[in-house]
């Protein structure tokens, strides 16, 4: 006899997770772009695990690539269980502002639904914007979903515009994550795709001393990374 159970699965909200990847020519130096492709690919199974642990969220992943101009690298919001990473290629300049403008178009309602979990936006760069970052950023912050989004930035190497990345993150107590070698990049990407994803989709156990944060999502402690430059192999 087959068991019949009333009702269906728990109602869910979409959680849009969007990678913004710097593909400028400098990312081609020292295997950075390969390291990024590898790190994201390694993070996919972890994202799937995080999705499995969260009955309230439907996690949808996309990616933007920016160099000379910006385009959707993976344009369809893809359920993480079907998400597959396509390799990025490095070439051109660093049109970060255009990337953020492109992103902003997709954070308007519609195409965004008016009921969702905060989107997670991950900006990864190894350099300085060559276009007007502020213009893109202003547009982003004028959209409600842009304001509500959890914004994380990963700096690859030392020659990075930290001020811009910090501006993107908004909250001064959260710093850009630093990756000075491929292993650190894997770890930072892992952290973003597990810890940040989990706490955004279905908050995990809370601690008493995390009550003074100004973010609208409790972001856990990032992994610590040696920043003495000795590990710099880029």
């Amino acid at each position: 006899m087959t068991t019949i159970l009333p009702g269906g699965k728990l109602s869910t909200r979409p959680l849009h997770f969007i990678w913004l990847c710097d593909c400028s020519a400098s990312m081609g130096d020292g295997g950075k772009i390969q390291a990024l492709n590898n790190a994201i690919r390694q993070a996919i199974p972890l994202m799937r695990d995080a999705a499995n642990d969260n009955p309230n969220a439907q996690i949808l992943v996309r990616a933007i690539a920016f160099s000379s101009g910006a385009q959707w690298h993976i344009s369809q919001p893809t359920p993480v269980e079907h998400f597959d990473w396509e390799d990025l290629q490095a070439d051109g300049i660093t049109d970060m502002g255009k990337a953020i403008s492109l992103l902003t178009e997709q954070l308007k309602v519609p195409p965004m639904t008016d009921r969702a979990l905060p989107p997670v936006l991950v900006l990864i760069s190894d350099g300085y914007p060559t276009d007007d970052f502020n213009e893109g950023f202003r547009k982003l912050m004028s959209e409600p979903w842009g304001q509500k989004a959890v914004k994380v930035a990963i700096a690859i190497g030392d020659d990075v515009d930290y001020d811009v990345l910090q501006k993107f993150i908004v909250h001064p107590e959260l710093k850009p994550l630093r990756a000075n070698n491929p292993e650190q990049l894997v770890n930072q990407i892992k952290w973003v795709s597990t810890a940040v994803l989990k706490s955004t989709s279905s908050p995990v156990s809370q601690s008493a001393n995390s009550s003074n944060i100004s973010t609208n999502v409790p972001i856990p402690t990032p992994p610590t990374v040696a920043t003495d430059g000795v590990d710099d192999v880029w």
Binding site: A116, V204, Q206
Partner: protein, 444 residues
């Protein structure tokens, strides 16, 4: 973030200095990572804490020691067995039993990916086991502090439960508390308002949320108010589950009813369950929401889940499990409501009235010690009676005595007869069965 221990690494138990060898990573969380490890000839689970977590949970080691000394409240807990350390490593961990594979996460139930699909009886049994397990934990003077569906596993084929992540467990209401507050959605409103730290009363609130999830596949406070929230972030959750919390079926406050098409589970299940169970949830999430003293105690949940098991009736047409509800019978001229699944008319089976309990006598009904003795503990491994078919005429159903004591039956005409162990008594209306301490009356 990389695995903090590696396969082949050895850690040593504190008490006996025995080696425990790491085999592979099972999972990782905010506090640490869990590995399968070899301890002697046994495979065990080893939880190793993140060093950065230890910085702010400073009395974890003390708590674990205490838990190890006081031992598990029951077999339903994957309890810490031994502390383990590694030379030259500032962190530490503990070992516990591995979770058997047939225990599934409540999250799988919420996603409806669970196999096998549990029956309502097994869900109800799991509800009973949860209430009973937390009763035993609290009876030992502990509080759990972070009850949520991530920490609870159950066997969908039996309803047995396993409670994991017992490292937050502490002596109730101590001045010195760890930093843990709980999981949003499960935290009591007074914790969200920072007016209280987790304690036994806040555990009772979280237990009620967990039971609601188990039986309704929905959160008790997520109605219209949740549907209206655009971005469900922490501040909006704190209003929804804290300062502006309203039960979705609050009889006085209708402002937060579930929204059809979005929050259907709550609406569907609310139609199916008997009133006595709904009344208990109403208490838990109206008076009990704001006033810890009015929370539903585990003993009341135990009684209600037992009664719910005894109220299950099967649809004669589609076999779906429905519930006997005396309130419906009163308002519906003695007739049960139609089957929730096929919508056809339901037929009541024979019933046995035992003191204040009414047990449905389905083809698979069993009676247990607690049915015939108010002092007996709940033990589903020792049925004292089961339904049986007459060997010559399978259309005649009886109740078979599986106990060691004889029963005495009294027919409506006053005639008395013994029913020795191993024999059955035919079910006739108004027949009385004396089980010793309690007398039951059959109704057809």
């Amino acid at each position: 973030m990389s695995d903090i221990l590696k396969p082949g690494d050895k850690v040593q138990t504190q008490s006996s200095a025995l080696d425990c060898e790491v085999e592979f990573l099972l999972g990782s969380g905010g506090q640490g990572e869990v590995y399968q490890a070899k301890f002697g000839n046994e495979s065990v689970a080893l939880k190793w804490m993140h060093p950065h977590y230890l910085q702010w949970d400073t009395n974890l080691q003390e708590r674990l020691k205490q838990a190890i000394v006081k031992q598990a409240p029951s077999e339903s807990f994957l309890w810490p067995l031994e502390l383990v350390f590694k030379r030259g490593n500032p962190s530490f961990g503990y070992i516990m039993a591995l979770r058997p594979v047939q225990y599934k996460s409540l999250i799988d139930l919420m996603k409806r990916t669970i196999t096998p699909i549990p029956t309502m009886r097994n869900l109800t049994t799991a509800g009973f086991q949860l209430a009973n397990s937390f009763f035993q934990l609290h009876a030992k003077g502990f509080c759990y502090r972070d009850i949520s569906f991530g920490n609870v596993f159950f066997n969908p084929a039996t309803g047995d439960v396993l409670i994991c992540d017992n490292d937050n467990v502490d002596i109730d209401n101590r001045e010195k508390t760890s930093a843990i507050l709980g999981t949003p959605g499960f935290m009591a409103p007074e914790i969200i308002a920072r007016q209280s730290r987790p304690n036994k009363d806040t555990d009772l609130y979280s237990l009620a949320v967990l039971l609601f999830y188990l039986l309704f596949s929905h959160h008790p406070l997520e109605g219209r108010k949740e549907a209206k929230i655009k971005c469900l972030d922490l501040p909006s959750r704190e209003r929804l589950y804290g300062s502006e919390a309203v039960f979705i079926f609050d009889p006085q406050n209708l402002s937060n009813r579930p929204v059809t098409g979005y929050q259907d589970n709550a609406l569907i299940f609310w139609q199916i369950y008997p009133q006595f169970l709904k009344d208990l949830f109403i208490q838990a999430f109206t008076k009990g929401l704001r006033n810890p003293r009015d929370r539903v105690q585990e003993t009341a949940w135990r009684k209600a889940t037992i009664r719910l098991r005894d109220s299950i009736i099967y649809c004669p047409h589609c076999r779906a499990e429905n519930f006997y509800d005396t309130e419906i019978l009163k308002t519906n001229r003695g007739r049960p409501q139609p089957c929730w699944s096929c919508k056809k008319e339901m037929k009541l089976p024979a019933r046995l009235r035992l003191d204040k309990q009414i047990v449905m006598l389905n083809y698979d009904t069993k009676l247990y010690p607690h049915h015939i003795d108010g002092q007996a503990s709940y033990d589903f491994s020792r049925p004292i009676a089961e339904m049986s078919q007459h060997p010559k005429n399978p259309n005649i159903w009886g109740l078979k005595n599986l106990s060691r004591e004889k029963w005495v039956i009294t027919n409506p005409n006053g005639e008395a007869k013994d029913v020795p162990p191993g024999r059955s008594v035919t079910l006739d209306t108004r027949k009385k069965i004396s089980f010793g301490k309690v007398e039951g009356e059959v109704k057809i």
